[in-house]
Symmetry: none
Subunit: 200 residues, 4 copies
Amino acid sequence: MSLNALKQKKPEKYRAILEAAIRVFARKGFYNARVSEIAREAGVADGTIYLYFQNKDDILISLFEEGMKTVIETVREAVSRTNDPLEKLRCFARAHLALIENDKDMAEVIQVELRQSTKFMKEYKNDKFFEYLDIIGEIVREGQAKGMIRADVEPGVVKRALFGALDEMSRFWVLSSKRKYSINTAAEQISEFFIRGIAA
Amino acid sequence: MSLNALKQKKPEKYRAILEAAIRVFARKGFYNARVSEIAREAGVADGTIYLYFQNKDDILISLFEEGMKTVIETVREAVSRTNDPLEKLRCFARAHLALIENDKDMAEVIQVELRQSTKFMKEYKNDKFFEYLDIIGEIVREGQAKGMIRADVEPGVVKRALFGALDEMSRFWVLSSKRKYSINTAAEQISEFFIRGIAA
Amino acid sequence: MSLNALKQKKPEKYRAILEAAIRVFARKGFYNARVSEIAREAGVADGTIYLYFQNKDDILISLFEEGMKTVIETVREAVSRTNDPLEKLRCFARAHLALIENDKDMAEVIQVELRQSTKFMKEYKNDKFFEYLDIIGEIVREGQAKGMIRADVEPGVVKRALFGALDEMSRFWVLSSKRKYSINTAAEQISEFFIRGIAA
Amino acid sequence: MSLNALKQKKPEKYRAILEAAIRVFARKGFYNARVSEIAREAGVADGTIYLYFQNKDDILISLFEEGMKTVIETVREAVSRTNDPLEKLRCFARAHLALIENDKDMAEVIQVELRQSTKFMKEYKNDKFFEYLDIIGEIVREGQAKGMIRADVEPGVVKRALFGALDEMSRFWVLSSKRKYSINTAAEQISEFFIRGIAA
DNA sequence: TATGAATGAGAATTCATTCAT
DNA sequence: CATGAATGAATTCTCATTCAT
């Protein structure tokens, strides 16, 4: 895509816009965010946005894809530290929630996008998200191959259930101000439920 | 709310608008839905919408509250059929996913709203949703009292994790056309994971 | 006009609407007044208004014509108490300002209408107002015939100037809360200026 | 006001919109004027209006303030040509009516605004108008100090009465097509009435 | 490249008026 | 006569996007 070439030209500006967009989308939501507000927050002119992105939707998509790339890398790395599939699930949960904690705005934006079912989930083939989900799927299949996870467990259900559990927990985290327990507690508990739940 | 009084006057029209709104919101998403399209679909004039609802937001809120009322009633009823707390969780999962299957449009709209973090989750105190979540919380506390669920399990984590797991599963259901396994399989598997995961 | 017949049928309702309209127009101005607010204030249904008036404009016109009829009668009566044309001018000023003082809402509405140049002054032939203005014109011509008012004085200028002076004074009266001098002082001063100004 | 800064950027466009607004408001009245008509008449897009003005009300307010600034300057200048307070009143009257004659549209709009008692006179502190009125007040006080105007004359009454007289005369001028006497005759007669009326 | 003034399509909402009851 | 729910035309204002500079 021609615009991708531009990303290479002034990467600082591209990043500035993307980071401004994260903040504005997190604050206002995609539909209530104004392109001019993103421009102001990025310190560029309104028109400049369109030198780096095709339109407002494209900002969100790019945001999401860039974000997911980092998330996938980080989580893959965390998971690769152990060979025990059950332990890998724990690592996944910890890494996922740690990412949320480190970048709440990004977390919120990704959640909004993932959930804005209509516009984005319907029109846009969300490969990155499926790739992410399937990290869990792979772990489950590996565990089943090693006989550590019950054979009747559906990897496709586990991946969605675990992701959903972590995601709902993180939404609570992002939106709530008062928190009864730490995000670590949540990570430990949720991975514990799933490990016990699916272990052979 | 003063407008609620009107619901009593011509309940058919109130319901017609609400049901049209469910379909339109499910099809287009809240922000891309046009009030005039809801009116057309409901068979009323644009202005009539405003005799029953304060504004477009109010349609969504009303939709959500009415929907949650039904969901809470149905799930409460399903759960009350057994005394075994672990079994209750299974009933919860089945009932939740059955509701999704029976009214996909409503399911999608509720999910959109729940996730539109910004506008709705931030500004609108979402009591109905917390009430729903806490059905699970109560079951867990009951199970702990009976010694059937481990005491170190956090009810607040379980309720969000289980809800998140079911919800993510149902999003997949709603959005995807091709389905590898039935919604019943998903309900059984997810409740099985959690039951094993938290049982004493 | 067919509607005029209706005025005869339930004169209380006709008057109730008119009086409600005076209050609402005075409070909000014609364009910001809502027909439904007039209806509520009159204690009738929205639709009932249209049994007594053709439309919103017609309420204002009727209001004005009824009001001017009273004003003309009252002022004519006051003026007829003396034979001295100069003294008549003083009576006119006193009566005009007294009317304002007695019915501020009506005064304000009449002023609004008189001044809403465009819609009403252009489209609607304002006979009543000219009749009122010409009470002054007649007095001036009578005074000139009796040699008490200078012959070079233009009655058409005097009538507009005196009316304008009184009207501006009354606007001040209606809109201002703190008043340095009484409305009587104003009446005396203004008539004094004009009497000296035009006397032979 | 922040928008005033914009006036400096493209003053031609600001003026074009203002002048279009004068014509449209004069033709249709404020409430019947359409923003899109002003835009068309100014040769700009609808949205452009909102780069220079906050909303429709703001156009009228700006119009009024700009207009009054000119009026005040012109009249002040005219009045300063003589030292005789009574003669100053004549200059005031001539200058006022000459302004009306030169810019009938503006005159009509200012009158509409001044008289739209409700919306504008009540909510908007009309300093410019009071400043204008008080030019007359100052002249009267000066005349009293010099012993040329009777001491019992209330400057506050004279200023409103003279302004009202001129204003009513000019409304007649603006609205009427057939005119029995020239605007100069009116100016001379009215100033003559007041000069005789208040002279010592 | 970068700007930001200008554009104009588009949408929510209002409210005078009607008419079935 | 009276009602008030329903209508739908009409209008302001917003904001993503463009393009001349």
